[in-house]
């Protein structure tokens, strides 16, 4: 039984068909890669899944046996679907600890009015949650920076915090939007190690969008390839790597010798 399934998912912005009829299944406890050239619709696809954008008529998205098509983002998050952003979108002025506490928000048990009527209960529950979040920060190595504003972290630490905030939600599935962007190869490797440890520790299913093909090839069980908003290939890394459609999408169509000669003569 697939944890996430999309059927005929489409999204157009005016005349531009950003996502065109994509059907995709993600099995539980796997790492599923999503690759494609720039502008192929990978980020739009994530935004549709998480409710940041609303899909077009006729689309269907099911997560954990619940129809989440067209539902607002906070509802989908409450179902256990968490994500990171390519540009991180951390809460810069909030402390590192507060960032992960916001990530925990869907599990808050007291009502928004509780601070007025039941301050003791709010403090008691927050204390428990804070200890739990501190453990998470220790695990990703940010515990000693817990009180500084997120904006003051280094680039690599910020990526870790974005990951920690997404994990704090205790999601069933985690969508990673280019987790390695802007990191050096060494840091990418250690980040991927962290991600895989987190996957085992928290029993996650992961969908990862990545430009660095090496990362996707070595960690993903299944890879789907998008181009111009359409799914052009899907399979094991080995299969996708050798699929002519994928090579064409990435490198362009091979030109016949006489075409090249004609182009040079002109």
């Amino acid at each position: 039984m697939a944890l996430l399934e999309t059927r005929n998912l489409s999204k157009s912005f005016g005349g531009l068909q950003a996502i065109n009829d994509v059907s995709l299944k993600v099995e539980p406890n796997t790492v599923h890669g999503l690759i494609g050239p720039n502008g192929s619709g990978k980020s739009t696809f994530f935004n549709l899944l998480t409710g940041v954008y609303q899909p077009d008529e006729g689309s269907y998205i099911e997560f954990d046996n619940v129809d989440v098509t067209g539902k607002p983002a906070h509802y989908i998050a409450g179902q256990g679907l968490s994500r990171t952003f390519q540009l991180l979108r951390l809460y810069g002025e909030l402390s590192v600890l507060d960032n992960v506490l916001v990530g925990y928000h869907p599990h808050t048990k007291y009502s928004p009015f509780a601070p007025f009527f039941n301050g003791a209960e709010v403090r008691r529950q927050d204390q428990i949650v804070k200890e739990e979040m501190f453990e998470l920060l220790e695990f990703i190595g940010l515990a000693e920076h817990a009180e500084i504003p997120a904006a003051e972290l280094s680039g690599g630490q910020r990526r870790l915090l974005a990951l920690g905030r997404a994990i704090a939600m205790r999601p069933k599935m985690l969508l990673l939007d280019e987790p390695g962007a802007g990191l050096s190869p060494v840091n990418v490797d250690s980040l991927m190690d962290t991600i895989m440890t987190l996957k085992d520790r928290y029993n996650l299913t992961i969908v990862v969008v990545e430009h660095i093909l090496k990362v996707v090839m070595s960690t993903c069980e299944t890879i789907s390839v998008l181009d111009h908003g359409q799914k052009i290939s899907e399979g094991t890394p080995e299969f996708v790597k050798n699929d002519p459609a994928v090579i064409e999408a990435y490198l362009g169509r091979e030109m016949a010798d006489e075409d090249i000669r004609a182009a040079m003569d002109a």
């Binding site: 906070h74 951390l90 916001v102 928000h105």
Partner: protein, 361 residues
Amino acid sequence: MGILSSVADFIDSLAKRHRLLPWLLAYALLLPLPFVLATLFNEYLIDLANRICLFILLAVGLNIVKGFCGQVTVGHIGLYAIGAVTSAVLALEPGGFGGALGFGWPIWAAIPTAVLVTAFAGLIVGLPSVRLEGAYLALATLGLGESVRIFIAVTPALGSSTGLMMIPSPSIGSFVFDSFTSYYYLVMTAAIIGIYFSFSILRSATGRAFQAIREDTIAASVNGINVVKYKLLAFVLSAVYAGLAGALFAHMPPGYLHHNNFTVIEMVTLLLMVVLGGIGNVWGGVIGAIVVAIAYDQTKDLVFYFMDRPIVIQPLVFGLSMVLLVMFMPRGIGGWIEDFQRNRRFIRRSEERLGGTARNS
């Protein structure tokens, strides 16, 4: 810095014994203020202290929606007006002066009702925030706030140009809060409780949700925060503060209410308090309210003569200081407070690690 640190250390040690001790101490220290003011200066300053307490309530409330949640609202003074007029009209005896409405309710029923009515009005002022942001939201809320004032100004039943007079004073048993000094205890208590609850909100999941919306709305929604619900909640909570401040203002001696108290100038003054205080910082907002209210009071009669013509320079001074503040002190007093607190935490952590030598090195 040294004195500040020892004061902060002292407050910390009190808070360690019981969470409420610093608050009770502050309350106790504020109790003799009217007598100090009356002895050293004059009675008038007690009235000023009362108005400062109301401005603190307003500023702390505005800070919830503007500072915590990042929604630029310029309609807050309209909510203040709604709270004031509702409570006044409910408490006035029927058949008062100049066709003013009156229902003759007991005051302790009128004030909570006014707060509820204002909270509902706050919900309406907040509705544009679902679709609008930044300057557009400011414009929409400004329109709502100003239309409330104009509505009051043209409706004889709500006082119109003469204002509402003889608004009764609250009483407990036979004790009537009808003097500056007695009323001080009412508004000062309200202000302290208001500040306390503002911290309670800030330090709960509710406050964190507000701040997340301010920092990044899309990330907040993906983190499971119902953005529409929390934005409206911020408006309602800040309206509760405005409604309470308004109701207390209506019954304050001499029990007179005029729509001139709710103009755009008042709104700018209120914004100046929050901006000077540092957006999002509760204590900054409180200090901003005190400083600006005193400055406002002291410069109100400041007239400058140009070729024998009087020119009232207060609005110019306030407008200019707003521009200068935003340019050169964007984080306000709250920025200093936050830096100070962070330095202290850093020193404390370093001391824990190094065993008490960090302060000397």
